[in-house]
Structures are given as structure tokens and as C-alpha cells.
């Protein structure tokens, strides 16, 4: 028994899911290249696990309405902490690893203690995009617009501070303040992402599209545009495919993003080979 895409689109929950996915993918696509440029992929993973812990804790103590706030508080707090860690990669990685595993353990404990519907539990890990309602979509859109406006204002100095921090500091860019701003933007996006696609998939939207884009272009603007496009393809494709197959969204989004990454890597390798061939005739 199959439905056509149009039949699916007529359903409210499908439309909500798609709008939420589209907004989330825009945010993830725009932040992704900065995350990759700042070497913060692991931080995003850690942030997602603590959003999961925050959401699970809020669910246990306050019930389903509080999940969003719990996830937001968990994500922003820990993103700020990660943002404040120095640039020494090794120390940063170990601190993130410590907090990530602690958060994951805490989240699992909260979930084990929770006695309500199990769908509420697993949603935070693997996503519950079909459970998105109009209110969620509205929140997401408003937050999305705010993030976009902030990003538009700070984009150039943020790019400078992210990719060329010493020079940026010498030119008077408030590098520290910007890393706090970025941490908040990232925390908010991760918290929203955790509720919609789940903690496991947030990485897939924030990292994979940006990493794929970096393989095929060195232009910062084009990299952002491509990352958004890739994230959209993965999310929208994932939603449609999961509805069609009646399976969770995660494997589809992850697989589509992964295939895009592989294709970009291949293109990138070709590009490099061509450049080397030109440089050494």
C-alpha cells in the first residue's frame, strides 16, 4: 500500500515535518562551515548529547512540555563551556569527551527512570519529526529568523575569527565575544535539532553537508550555499523516504548525507589532481 507524494503533502503532520526540516537544514547548513572551520565537530557531538540529557531530565521531572527548555538549557550551557575552552585541540577534545560521556550516561539514566510513553523517550535520540506540531514549527521559524539575523550581522568577523583567529585578533575583531555568540547560536540550533531529528542526527546535519562542501569549493560563500543545499536534500529526502518506507527518519537522512559526502570527496580528489597536474607540467 503506497501513497503518492501529493497524498502525503495533504497531511498536516507531513507539512509540519517538512517545514521544520527545511528551517533546521538552513540553520545547520549555515553554521556547518563555521563549525568545521573552528574544528568544533566534536563539540557539536558533545553539545547534542547534553541537549539530550537536558531534554531527558526535563521530561522526567516536568513532563513533555519541558523537553524543549531542558534541551535548550543543556545545549547552550555546554556550548558556552566548549566555546570558552582554549584552542589547544588535545585538551579541548578530552574535556569534551569527559562531558559528552557524562551527559550521555545521565540522559540514559533519566530515560530509564521515566515511566511514560516510550515514544517520548526515543524521540530525543532518533528524532520524532512526525510528531512536530504547528506550535513547534512556529517556535522553530521564529528562532530560525533570529539566528539568521544575528548571523547576517556577525558573519564576516565570525568567519575571520573562525578561520584566521590570530590575524582577526590583531585586526581588532572581538574574538572571545564572537565565540560566545557562536556558542549560543550553535546551542540553540542543536537543541532544536535534537527535538526534531534527534541527538544522533544533529551531527549529520551540522557536519556532513559542510564537510562535503569543503571538499568541492574553497569559497566561503559558495561553501555555505552548498552546505545548505546538501542539508536540505538530506532532510527533505529523508522525510519523504521515511514516510514512504514507514521507517524512522534517521537512517535515510544519514545515508543521503553520507552519499553526498562521498560524491563530493571524489570530486574534490579529481579537482586536486587536476590542480597538481597544472602546477607541475
Amino acid at each position: 500500500m503506497t501513497y503518492s507524494l501529493l497524498d502525503l503533502l495533504a497531511l498536516d503532520f507531513v507539512r509540519n515535518a517538512l517545514v521544520a526540516g527545511v528551517v533546521l537544514a538552513v540553520l545547520a547548513g549555515l553554521l556547518g562551515p563555521l563549525v568545521v572551520g573552528r574544528g568544533m565537530a566534536f563539540s557539536v557531538h558533545g553539545t547534542a548529547e547534553l541537549a539530550f540529557a537536558g531534554g531527558a531530565g526535563a521530561l522526567l521531572v516536568f513532563g513533555t512540555e519541558a523537553i524543549g527548555w531542558g534541551a535548550l538549557i543543556g545545549a547552550v550551557l555546554v556550548a558556552l563551556l566548549f566555546g570558552a575552552l582554549g584552542r589547544a585541540q588535545r585538551e579541548r577534545d578530552s574535556v569534551i569527551g569527559v562531558l559528552l560521556s557524562f551527559g550521555l550516561g545521565l540522559g540514559v539514566l533519566f530515560q530509564a527512570l521515566y515511566t511514560g510513553r516510550s515514544a517520548n523517550k526515543f524521540g530525543l535520540l532518533v528524532g520524532q519529526i512526525v510528531g512536530v506540531d504547528v506550535g513547534d514549527v512556529l517556535t522553530l521559524t521564529v528562532v530560525g529568523v533570529v539566528v539568521l539575523v544575528v548571523l547576517a550581522v556577525v558573519r564576516r568577523p565570525l568567519l575571520f575569527a573562525s578561520l584566521d583567529p590570530d590575524m582577526a585578533a590583531a585586526r581588532g575583531v572581538p574574538v572571545r565575544a564572537l565565540s560566545i555568540v557562536f556558542a549560543v547560536l550553535l546551542g540553540v540550533t542543536v537543541a532544536l535539532g535534537v527535538q526534531i531529528v534527534g541527538a544522533l542526527l544533529v551531527l549529520c546535519l551540522l557536519i556532513t553537508p559542510a564537510a562535503a562542501a569543503a571538499q568541492v569549493t574553497a569559497s566561503p560563500t559558495l561553501a555555505s550555499v552548498l552546505a545548505v543545499v546538501f542539508a536540505e536534500i538530506a532532510v527533505v529526502g529523508g522525510i519523504v523516504a521515511s514516510l514512504d518506507a514507514g521507517l524512522p527518519i534517521s537512517p535515510f537522512v544519514a545515508s543521503i548525507a553520507f552519499v553526498i559526502y562521498l560524491v563530493c570527496r571524489a570530486l574534490g580528489a579529481l579537482r586536486t589532481r587536476r590542480r597538481v597536474a597544472v602546477a607541475t607540467p
Partner: protein, 280 residues
Amino acid sequence: MPWGPLRDLFVEVLLVTPSIRLTDAEVRRGGRTLWTGLDLDVEPGEFVAVLGPNGSGKTTLLTVLLGLLPLAVGTCEVAGRAPHRGSADVGYVPQQTSMDALTPLRGRDLVGLGLDGHRFGLPFRGRAERARKVREALLQVDALDLADAPVGALSGGEQQRLRIAQALVGDPGLLLADEPLHSLDLARQRAVVELLERRRREHGTAVVFVTHELNPVLPVTDRVLYLVDGRFRIGTPDEVMTSETLSELYRTDVDVVRVRDRIVVVGAEDRLVHTGGGPR
């Protein structure tokens, strides 16, 4: 009007603002005084080489001139004003750091960040003018062919040329360069030095050049600032690079020998890192 040229001459001769004026300057870092009582005026177009062993505070001097670190004592002026972060008057070539291979920046982007990377807001206005300035800076360092290359894929020398373009794109009156010859081969070193020499000749840009090796810049150096353990000497290369002066600075016997057009320093080997002429 006959007065015009005369007045211009007057202004030029008498009222030239020094590019840098340090008066009785003292710097502390982590509770330790790095140097104190430093008086230094640098005129427009002057080339000052800053020498000294590791940790003597050369980079810190540039940090002060960039307005990133206040003096503990004394005053500092850059182009007649207290130095301030993000000043368009000052170009800066940082100590070499290599860019990650997948950094999403092309040559033109890196240079462009030097022009307006510190500005907030949307970059809608003046795009053509911006592109022209970036192109001109790339042209100055002979790097137009690097405009579209990913910076992470470039060699150290190529990245260094882009760094210099990035420092020059804002048309600064003062250029601060931190060991820009480091890890460059002799030909590249010569190219960088020629570039800076042309820049100061044609634009009157003062250059403060931190280096481990004086010889590559010896022909263009007007004055040397030599820092050792808080002691320092300022003067022409001939005044500073003598056995007597360096022995005093290092508090041990140091011999300075002129061999052809190079200066060779012998002694205090554990401290000295600049004795060679070319790449180490």
C-alpha cells in the same frame, strides 16, 4: 600661488608625524618586566629590524603597536595617535601559521578579510571597490594567480605572500612583520625583502621587521633594535652589530665579524639564533 610648494615643503620637513613614537616604554607580561625605558621614533619609510633571542619580547613589541597590549609605563603613539585595535594605519604580517588544508578560503578571501574582516553588518556596498583593492594588493605581491587557489593547498611561501597582501590591502602607513622570512628559501626571502623595500620606497610605509636573521634584510635596514633579557640597543647596523655592543647585551664574549656583505656573530651560541645568513 608661490606659497603652495613652499608650504608643502615646510609641512613635509617640520611636521612629519613619526609612524611610531615610543617614550620611556615598559612592558610586563605575566608579572615579569620584558623591557623598560624604551625610546623609539620610527619615521615614515624607515626600515627597522628587531632582533633578539627567543622570548626577548619582539612579538610583544608588535602586540603593543597593534594596540592589543597596554604599556605598563610610558607612552606609545602610532601615526600620531594611541594605537587602537583594528587601525587601518597598521598592517600586520603574523608569525607564520599554516592554514588547514580544507579551510574554506581562497587567496582573494584571505586578503579581503584584511580589508573588512573586522566589520560587522552585511557586505552589500562597495563590492567593486573592494574587489579592486584586493586585486591591487595581490598584484603588489605578484600573487594574482593565487586569487582563486584554496589557501590551505598553498606552500608556505605562497601563503606568506598572501599574508603580506592581506597586510597591505588597507594601504597602511606602518607595516609590522613577525619573522616573515621564517622557513622561506633564499630566493623567496629575497623576493619578500624586495617587496617590502619597494613598498616603503613608493608609499613611504615604515616597516618594523622582526627577524632571526639580519643578513637577508641588511641592505635595506636603516636601524636595528636589539633586545636581550630586558637590555636593548638601537642604532644603525654598524653601530649595534659590533663585538662590544653584543658582548654587553649578552653579558658574555661575542665576536662580530663582517664577511663580505654579511655579518657573522660568534659566541653566545646557546642564545643566538640569527647568526646564519640563509635558511638554517
